[in-house]
């Protein structure tokens, strides 16, 4: 059996005095969308950054197609995975098409000009992310949802087989979040491996093939959303009385918003 596309095992990250990630594991294959969920400060984003090689590990390992991430640097790593930050910088004087062209840079030699194949890849990424009609607009004129889709286009121009998105929907309205969610699901259906760090459990349950729960720096559960996000786990990890309801194509999270966390624990 060949190695999975991405395999993180026993990841531990210490920054300064604080151990942010204690023992987190994650496996993703091509065509799969894995949602990483957990409370604020649990270490989800640190896990995503470690998987992408943006955060060095204290111990544990990250392997891309069986190769240790330590042996993949620069362009070689850039061709394995693309990382989509929660909020990228939005500089003035840059069109959407120029920004997406920056995403192509791992394929363009240091002293070479982009070829017509590169330009086609950039155009493909723009169209696939559904921002074709924004291509000539300045980045500074876009809405949050549009910017996030442009970020995904930048990542797609990288032509890597895996995307790691760190809370791409966190600051978006419902419609914009759903649009980004549909796009990411579509990309997984196209054969990309997608890691999605997300707060919205209903959204995660609706689009993910698998959900990994991070709590206090550890991966405490992984599997299909309906099995993993059960009532007891929501109470344990998020300290809330809530229940996930799934029917084909729709999900809902029923939350006792005003319930006392301690009472919920006793009553469940």
């Amino acid at each position: 059996m060949s190695a999975p596309l991405l395999e993180v095992s026993g990841a531990r990250v210490t920054i300064g005095e604080a151990t942010i990630l204690k023992d987190a594991s994650l496996t993703v294959d091509a065509g799969r969308l894995v949602a990483v969920v957990g409370p604020n400060g649990a270490g989800k984003s640190t896990l995503a950054r470690a998987a992408a090689g943006l955060q060095p590990l204290t111990s544990g390992s990250v392997r891309w197609s069986g190769e240790d991430i330590g042996s993949l640097r620069g362009r070689r790593l850039a061709r394995r995975r693309a990382f989509i930050p929660q909020r990228a910088r939005v500089p003035g004087g840059l069109r959407v098409a120029d920004a997406v062209a920056i995403g192509r840079s791992p394929h363009v030699g240091a002293f070479h000009r982009p070829t017509s194949a590169d330009r086609e890849a950039v155009a493909r990424a723009i169209v696939r992310a559904g921002v074709g009609d924004l291509a000539q607009r300045q980045l500074t004129t876009l809405s949050g949802g549009e910017l996030q889709r442009v970020q995904i286009a930048v990542a797609l121009a990288q032509d890597a087989p895996a995307l790691i998105a760190d809370e791409p929907t966190s600051h978006l309205d419902l419609g914009a979040a759903a649009s980004v969610a549909r796009l990411l699901r579509g990309l997984a259906d196209d054969g990309l491996a997608v890691v999605l760090v997300v707060h919205d459990l209903a959204l995660a349950a609706a689009i993910a093939d698998e959900v990994v729960v991070i709590s206090h720096g550890r991966s405490v559960a992984g599997g299909p959303a309906a099995e993993v996000l059960e009532r007891e786990r929501l109470a344990d990890v998020w300290r809330i009385d809530a229940q996930l309801e799934t029917s084909p194509g729709r999900t809902a999270l029923h939350v006792a918003w005003l319930g006392e966390p301690t009472t919920q624990m006793e009553n469940r």
């Binding site: 640097r73 070689r76 003035g92 004087g93 098409a97 920004a99 840079s105 169209v127 649009s179």
Partner: protein
């Protein structure tokens, strides 16, 4: 419901990829216009700088002197020993400050970035004042003193900002730069207080201006300009990758902090070399890249860096020639003179735009 669904794959078949990616035709024209205008202004300024001054030298005599056909005499000497070195110095210094500003603003993602903020100006000022006031006998070491102290201040800023958690972050660099700069300015002021009877000789240098002292200083510092310009060219693509933030740059396989350090070191070398020839002309480094971006409507470094070099050279050379000619035979210091001309223009451009 079908209308709600996006059909990007169907759309992909309808849209021509080249049409999506291509720049609008006006955009390329605008960039070209900025470069051509700057180049033409530079050529005009070179002609003016070589012909105009306390003594008018006809263009034909200038050409003869430059091509070695002129007979020995005062005109040939004025062109080759006074005006040509000053013209070359102005081009080098203007290009260096424009480039340093463009590189720094790109590296720090901050429109306020200029050689002041990484300590270079403070350090170079200290080095120059130290030689001028404390060791006036070693006046020949002035350019080297400014260069060494300017680079030393920048090195100190990098060392401090690279220390401890969050090493090499923009915030740390800027704070360290302001602190180190303040330290050197305080040291400079202290020397001026102690040697207040000699301050007169340092005033012109601090105000910023070129001198007609021949080739000696240029000969001492030209390699630093060459190294700085080559590094700036190599940094154009890496700086573009920083435009969308460190995380995107890292995703693209770049090392954002290494790029930022290299860019700051490049700007430090250029700014210190510029200060060694022309004193403190910080305003040019701050403003030129903004002018270029506003006029060209493009902030990619493959445009902004060369255009800032060209514009910086043209502006400084034109400003220096004007400062020599306006009240001839009295020479106005070009630093304040350029600020007086440049600030209204800059503010006028600024009011119509966002930075």
């Amino acid at each position: 419901m079908a209308a709600l669904e996006e059909t990007p794959r169907a759309a992909a078949e309808m849209l021509d990829p080249h049409q999506i990616v291509a720049r609008p035709p006006g955009a390329d024209l605008r960039r070209a216009l900025v470069l051509v205008t700057a180049a033409a202004a530079l050529v005009a300024a070179v002609v003016a700088s070589l012909t105009l001054g306390a003594v008018h030298v006809p263009l034909r005599d200038v050409v003869d002197a430059l091509t070695g056909q002129a007979e020995d005499g005062p005109l040939k000497q004025i062109v080759l020993q006074l005006r040509l070195p000053r013209t070359i110095d102005a081009i080098l210094v203007g290009a260096a400050l424009g480039t340093a500003g463009a590189v720094l603003q790109g590296a720090l993602g901050n429109p306020l970035a200029s050689p002041d903020v990484i300590g270079v100006t403070g350090g170079a000022g200290f080095g120059a004042v130290l030689i001028l006031l404390v060791f006036p006998g070693a006046i020949a070491l002035l350019p080297i003193g400014a260069l060494v102290c300017g680079s030393l201040a920048a090195a100190l800023v990098f060392a401090i900002s690279w220390w401890g958690p969050d090493a090499g972050s923009i915030g740390k660099l800027l704070l360290a730069g302001i602190a180190v700069g303040s330290f050197f300015f305080a040291a400079t002021t202290s020397i001026m207080v102690i040697y207040s009877d000699r301050v007169q000789s340092a005033v012109f240098w601090i105000a910023g201006g070129l001198s007609s002292e021949g080739w000696q200083s240029t000969r001492a510092v030209w390699p630093y300009f060459v190294v700085g310009f080559i590094a700036a060219i190599a940094l154009m693509r890496p700086l573009d990758r920083l435009a969308l933030g460190d995380d995107v740059a890292a995703s693209l396989g770049a090392r954002p902090r290494l790029v930022r350090l290299t860019a700051c070191a490049t700007a430090a070398v250029l700014a210190a070399a510029a200060a060694s020839l022309a004193g403190l002309l910080g305003f040019l480094g701050l403003v030129t890249p903004h002018l270029v971006r506003l006029a060209g409507g493009d902030s990619s470094h493959t445009f902004v860096i060369p255009a800032s070099a060209l514009c910086g050279a043209a502006i400084l050379l034109a400003g220096d020639t004007l400062a020599r000619v306006v009240a001839a035979p009295v020479e106005l210091p070009v630093g304040p003179f350029m600020v007086a001309l440049g600030v209204p223009l800059f503010l006028w451009l600024l009011r119509k735009t966002t930075v």
